[in-house]
Amino acid sequence: MSVAARFGTLLVALLSALSSLGRPALADDVRLALAHPITLTAPDGKRVSSSDFPGQLLLVYFGYTHCSDQCPTSVSTMVEALDEMGPAARHVQPIFITVDPERDTGPILKEYTASFDKRLLGLTGSPDEIKAAAAAVGVQYEKVELNGTGDYSIDHSWTMSVIDETGRNARTFDFSAPHMLAKTLFDMLAKAGIDLEDVPNIAAFR
């Protein structure tokens, strides 16, 4: 490695260290053990627990339907990642958990998720249940009043979470392109010993 390249690497490391100062603690790959299953409510009123999906990964995004810029991007990323996974996507259950249960009632949530993909399951719950679910996987959110009009926005983590096939461990990470999210999911499925032989283009994700 040349001196210049070495200096460059050092500079990059230094800058990234500096840029992380002053941020609240939110690593870009948080791993947490779930003390107990997360239980929330589906749009039809049925209670759904994270322990209801043995052998599947739960791909979870916390968002809200009034979030018109960022949330559709995130949800589309989930869906595109599943599309890229082909048949192996059946080992992954995508879930959208609303952080705005006040406005995102069952029917709204149901139509919202169906507009993106019929595989996507929307979940809601009491404010306390949702808060606890988010905290359990390392997701933060906070309601913020806008302009004193009673209108509000909800600041929330720009992350995707995966609950593993045992339902006992959660991982929350930054995400970017659908391809990268698919790769993360493939890696987790492979680690879980789930057979991926039916993925025709698996090499592209390695």
Partner: protein, 163 residues
């Protein structure tokens, strides 16, 4: 040949439209289809100040929603925040690109869902250039760019700001 004529006609119309707008040009206005019964939506466009003097975007309106206003999405410590933006200045020769994950027009109180393939008018009010009406094309739910542009997932790479 017909395609060629159509191409020339389109180019001519585009030039004519451009020529009429010596000050502010509004380009690529598009919106996302709205999921289900959701009453909020997002629209995007690019503003270019081709004039010699600075101008300011004061506000906007559309018949399809109770309100349309400029918002910004910003990332702070891994948390995504959406906030209203006040009037925006446009210096001569500068452009302002609204795009997913950045500045956007938030449509609130939609009178009907925005469906892919539809279009609607949006009127922008500028301090000096006056009002400008544009046609907003509605793309897919969760689209990352105007229809016909292949930036669906590639655009995501620019959005992972924490790396």
């Amino acid at each position: 040949m017909r395609a060629l004529i159509a191409g020339f006609t389109a180019a001519f119309l585009a030039l004519a439209a451009y020529a009429q707008e010596p000050g502010i040009a509004v380009e690529q206005a598009w919106a996302r289809a709205t999921p289900g019964a959701v009453k909020t939506g997002a629209a995007y466009l690019t503003l270019v100040n081709n004039g010699k003097q600075s101008d300011r975007l004061l506000g906007m309106s559309t018949p399809v929603a109770d309100s349309a206003s400029l918002h910004e999405t910003k990332m702070e410590g891994g948390i995504m925040k959406m906030r209203p933006l006040g009037p925006v200045d446009l210096a001569p020769g500068k452009s302002l690109e609204l795009k997913p994950g950045g500045n956007h027009i938030m449509l609130e109180g939609l009178k009907h869902p925005l469906k892919e393939g539809e279009h609607f008018p949006l009127t922008l009010a500028f301090e000096k250039a006056g009002t400008r009406e544009v046609t907003v094309m509605v793309g897919k739910v969760g689209a990352m760019g105007p229809a016909g542009m292949t930036m669906d997932s590639g655009a995501m790479n620019h959005m992972n700001m924490t790396h």
